[in-house]
């Protein structure tokens, strides 16, 4: 798709384009770089001298020490990982099943179920969270001392919230698979479940990767659900901890910078390693927004 063939030397228009694009790239990157730089500075310097790079005497790890000792950031990470991994695995398992059945089987009401899946993507979380909370309250899994139950209460609505998006993405991919391989496996005596796990799942791997990454990130970044379901400090996941930081440590800006750094660095690493799947999944999942 290269268009470079028809242009010989860089024109003025092209130079302007590069300048403009680079400016926007800088406004995108610089705030992130800025916060990371300042996480390594004394908390007072952030307010007076935030543009210099901390070297020598200016550099300090105090903010990070504080983040680990005072905030229990590792505990929050653990909670986040438990929630987001649970959401990711359950969504992949059940959405895979549903997508497979909706593509390969023909039955009455199939179109209706498909429409239900699409409708599921349209419900904003605001319109479901109160009844969901009240229901889980009557089951005793929110407003409880138990960390395990609270984490589960966070995962359950997130699983449902990501399910339709995952089904739609997987349907699109499974549809494009040739049925021949499945038929060959059938002739060799595999039953449907074996065909699904041994033939369909391996072929659908790229699409599962997209679903896994998106589901994980959505769950990891979602503050709204956590504000309803995680009551006690030791139950907080990382996003909730960040959300409470201002009211807990109002003016300790060094600690804020280090906490933000600690939360965004893992995500940035995941993004840079897996961006191929992320960008590909975006167009498929665009509806979810």
């Amino acid at each position: 798709m290269s268009k470079s063939g028809k242009r010989k030397k860089p024109s003025i228009g092209k130079m302007i384009a590069y300048v403009f694009l680079s400016l926007w790239a800088i406004t995108t990157l610089y705030p992130l770089v800025w916060v990371v730089i300042n996480a390594f500075k004394d908390r007072r310097l952030i307010l007076t001298d935030s543009f210099t790079i901390p070297v020598g005497a200016k550099a300090t790890l105090d903010n990070f020490r504080l983040a680990f000792n005072k905030l229990n950031i590792l505990g929050a990470y653990k909670n986040s990982l438990i929630i987001s991994c649970t959401v990711m695995f359950v969504v992949m398992l059940f959405a895979g099943f549903a997508a497979f059945a909706l593509v390969r089987y023909h039955f009455r009401g199939k179109q209706f179920l498909y429409n239900l899946v699409i409708a599921g993507m349209m419900f904003p979380i605001f319109s479901t969270i109160i009844p969901v909370f009240r229901m889980m309250n009557s089951w005793g899994i929110v407003n409880t001392e138990s960390t395990a139950l609270s984490l589960m209460a966070t995962a359950l609505p997130q699983i449902a919230g990501n399910m339709s998006f995952a089904i739609v993405v997987l349907i699109g991919y499974i549809k494009s698979l040739p049925i021949d391989l499945e038929e060959a496996a059938y002739i060799e005596g595999c039953n449907v479940y074996k065909i699904y796990f041994k033939v369909v799942v391996p072929l659908t791997k790229p699409s599962f990767a997209t679903v896994a990454i998106f589901t994980f990130l959505w769950s990891y970044n979602d503050l709204f659900t956590q504000m309803f379901t995680l009551r006690l400090k030791n139950q907080w996941a990382i996003t909730r901890l960040l959300g409470e930081l201002t009211s807990m440590e109002g003016t300790n800006y060094g600690l804020m910078a280090s906490a933000v750094t600690l939360v965004i660095i893992p995500v940035l690493i995941i993004y840079l390693c897996l961006q191929k799947y992320i960008v590909k999944g975006l167009t498929a999942g665009a509806l979810k927004g």
């Binding site: 798709m1 290269s2 268009k3 470079s4 028809k6 092209k14 384009a17 694009l21 926007w24 790239a25 406004t27 995108t28 916060v35 307010l47 935030s50 059940f94 549903a98 497979f100 059945a101 909706l102 089987y105 023909h106 039955f107 899946v117 599921g120 419900f123 904003p124 605001f126 319109s127 479901t128 109160i130 009844p131 969901v132 009240r134 309250n137 699983i159 449902a160 399910m163 089904i167 499945e182 038929e183 479940y193 065909i195 990891y220 970044n221 503050l223 504000m227 960040l242 959300g243 201002t246 910078a257 906490a259 965004i264 995500v267 940035l268 840079l272 961006q275 960008v279 975006l282 665009a286």
Partner: protein, 295 residues
């Protein structure tokens, strides 16, 4: 698809039941339930409803007279316009520019998309540091440039702008990637033919790229409109409880405020219903206005 494998129908249930159980319990049923709740009287998240309101539509009546709801709706509309211009417009500009340069496409795409994977909560804290009165990044920068006197970015005059900038900033890359994907599907031959006919670069953009991108832009517009209704995390971190003096409420943050901070749960449910209705109406309108028939 006449394969014998899929003639036996019993596995359908095994495959479909888990996903649909989840969605029924945590999506479809609560959605309906929420509409019912909005007509009832509920004074605590954990307490049972005390029957229906008198009259049953009382919450919606209150809403019409509620000055905060008016602010929330007004701000949400401002947010929608800002996302249309600042996100989709900016993304379109960037996408058209990137499409016309040779090297570096991949780099710009990677960079522009990056803020989307970061949690809005972390970005809210980050922008709090940037907009800090005494003295965040911006006020320090203005000082270096020689401006005297600090600007309070969070006072009533600046609050909405301070709120809109990070939201717009974060999602430009999202629409950028969708538009770039759309531009990549436009056949190269069209451009070649245009070059043969002597079309300039600018003419190619206006007579080929933009018209053929119309449906993709329409998708982006619908996503931006419905997305603006879902914004919560960033405004809540930067301007909790609609501060200063209730001037920054959005429909989403106001719904949370009524539910959690005022314990007016049924009113919160009613606001949520309004958010859904607004979303449906606005996406229908956008569809009518912008969507082109398939060729």
């Amino acid at each position: 698809m006449n394969s014998n494998i899929y003639k036996k129908k019993t596995p359908i249930f095994v495959f479909l039941i888990p996903a649909f159980i989840f969605m029924t319990i945590f999506l479809y049923y609560p959605f309906i339930r929420n509409i019912v709740n909005s007509f009832q009287s509920i004074t605590g998240l954990g307490t049972a409803a005390k029957g229906f309101n008198e009259p049953w539509y009382a919450n919606y009546k209150t809403m019409i007279e509620d000055p905060n709801m008016r602010i929330a709706i007004k701000n949400t509309i401002i947010m929608i316009i800002a996302t249309l211009v600042g996100q989709v417009g900016m993304a379109l500009l960037l996408a058209l520019l990137v499409d016309n340069i040779g090297r570096g496409k991949k780099f710009f795409q990677t960079v522009y998309f990056l803020p989307i994977v970061i949690s809005a909560t972390a970005l809210g804290l980050l922008f709090n540091l940037i907009f800090l009165y005494d003295k965040g990044m911006l006020n320090q920068f203005l000082e270096i440039l020689g401006f005297s006197g600090l600007i309070d970015w969070k006072d009533q005059h600046h609050a909405m702008m301070t709120l809109l900038i990070p939201v717009m900033w974060q999602y430009v890359g999202f629409y950028f990637v969708i538009l770039i994907t759309g531009l990549n599907t436009i056949s190269e031959e069209l451009y070649e033919a245009a070059v043969v006919d002597g079309a300039t670069k600018l003419q190619q953009v206006f007579y080929i790229s933009i018209p053929l991108l119309r449906n993709v832009v329409c998708t982006c517009i619908i996503l931006a409109v419905t997305g603006a209704l879902k914004v919560f995390d960033l405004p809540w971190i930067m301007f909790p409880k609609g501060m200063p003096v209730n001037s920054t409420f959005l429909t989403g943050t106001y719904m949370y405020y009524q539910t959690f901070n005022s314990n007016n749960v049924d009113y919160g449910s009613a606001i949520a219903v309004v958010i859904v209705v607004l979303g449906i109406i606005l996406s229908k309108v956008a569809n009518k206005l912008f969507k082109e028939k398939d060729y």
